[in-house]
Symmetry: C2
Subunit: 294 residues, 2 copies
């Protein structure tokens, strides 16, 4: 198993007619210097990314990740990515992942300060072992995101629908959750509406309906949440996008944080209130999420 | 004149007894690869920075920048920086700046993903030519920051008092200002209180008092604003820290955006309302800011 793999990508425009992008990829040593100190990703978190789960060398839900990459680029006024080029890079990186679970990151930076073009690269690494947390679950705390629920629509410069490299607040929220004795956080609005977790989407089951906050600009559309909903619908279960009130969380009869690499982590506690853990259902959901999916 | 200079720094702890840190600096080619793709600064904007102005090889207000670096590190749960080491690196980088104006950046990243220690580096580059804008001024628009003025105190995980590398929103705000035909932005709270500009502090003159928003957690304490206030006080002028209402901006009889490299840019227009430009005072203020200061 190659443990770490990285490619620097010379970004193509969307109308590039090539079908083989191999010549635009340069393999680099993931542990050696590869980026200059002038990189705007490092200086300003100015860029976007995707984290793609890989199971036994198969990259999961690539199209959904590529669609979101293009959406993030648009919100951030970055040049539109050539999605076929990114797909080819993703497939190539996945081929270098061994058996088991890995994670591929797609990163598109605004480039070098005053430079001519974006910088792009992709990395593949073994995933952390999340087998335990998928069974035993996570305790979460709700944290004020500081925004009311109408902010995303009226202030697009806050980039709330984009998956940017400026994740310092997301990381700080997880540290704050740990300080409070929990494992993870859920961001909520100042007017009592649930947004999302710092690095995951939320699904709650209330009265046998699987509910997730509507992705109306304030939150990212979760690729794993999308996939989980399609599976639930195929099982004949009822799913719903709607505003979720913070107060409702404590009445959920089950809840999960879902993301591309950790997959479905059942929530066992929210702000100290115990949430029932549906072990059987969680196991089936993760079994589905661990199966190869496009 | 060396146009670009960069040092990678092996971060020392604050209690490191050395007085000579030369052996902890490695000069690198600022245009060549120096950072690995695993850097959390690039992946998550997870780190802090300072931009120090340099005039004819003299780094300005170094202590104020070092103090703010330490303050940002504390807010972000980063290991406390050894300020004497950073001072030595700053002096060394300044010595490689030629005559005229330059900019030194101090960057402290959380390090490589799952790595043992932070990554630190410093760069020196020629400053853009801001001579014109210091005379002719900037047009600004106010932009909703999405937060009410009480958010910073109640939600420290939003890192509002820290100068983090997660500046994608700051950059997006400047792009939005340009889309609106202006040059720069001023962030305001949802309850009508002025915060700061994306990369500068605001000083307004109202009834012969020089006023700046109080740095109570929601905004950075501006090093150049501090220096400008001390100069104004020495001139016998009245300065004041207080809440500034958005509505007051349009009644200012003069206003400036002040920052370490552009220095004092007079504001000529706010949201389409003309603000008087005090050319003589602005010239004297910039003359002071261009003089060597510690």
């Amino acid at each position: 198993m190659v443990s770490r793999y990285a490619l620097i990508i010379d970004p193509a425009t969307p109308d590039d007619p090539r079908t083989d992008f191999t010549s635009t990829f340069s393999e680099v040593d993931a542990t050696a210097p590869a980026l200059s100190v002038g990189e705007l990703s490092t200086q300003r978190g100015d860029g976007i990314f995707e984290s793609v789960g890989v199971i036994d060398g198969h990259a999961q839900e690539v199209q959904a990740h590529l669609d979101r990459l293009a959406h993030s680029a648009e919100i951030c006024d970055l040049p539109a990515p050539n999605l076929e080029q990114w797909r080819a890079a993703t497939v190539l990186a996945a081929a270098h992942c061994g058996p088991g679970e890995s994670v591929i990151k797609l990163i598109l930076s605004r480039g070098v300060d005053h430079g001519p073009a974006p910088t792009a690269w992709i990395t593949a690494n073994p995933a952390p072992d999340f087998a335990g947390v998928r069974v035993r679950g996570v305790r979460v705390v709700t944290l004020d995101r500081g925004y009311d629920s109408a902010v995303p629509a009226r202030a697009p410069w806050l980039l709330l629908g984009a998956k940017t490299l400026s994740y310092a607040v997301n990381m700080a929220a997880i540290r704050e959750a740990k300080r409070r004795g929990a494992d993870d956080a859920i961001f909520v609005s100042t007017d009592g509406i649930v947004f999302e977790a710092p690095t995951a989407s939320l699904i709650v089951r209330i009265n046998d309906v699987y509910v997730t906050p509507a992705p109306t600009g304030g939150i990212l559309q979760g690729t794993t949440q999308l996939s989980a909903f399609s599976w639930m619908q195929a099982q004949g279960l009822t799913t719903e996008y709607r505003d979720v009130l913070t107060d409702e969380l404590h009445r959920a009869d089950a809840a999960w944080l879902v993301s591309s690499v950790r997959l479905a982590a059942p929530i066992t506690e929210i702000d100290g209130t115990t949430i029932p853990l549906d072990a059987e259902f969680t196991a089936r959901l993760n079994e589905y999420l661990l199966s190869p999916r496009d």
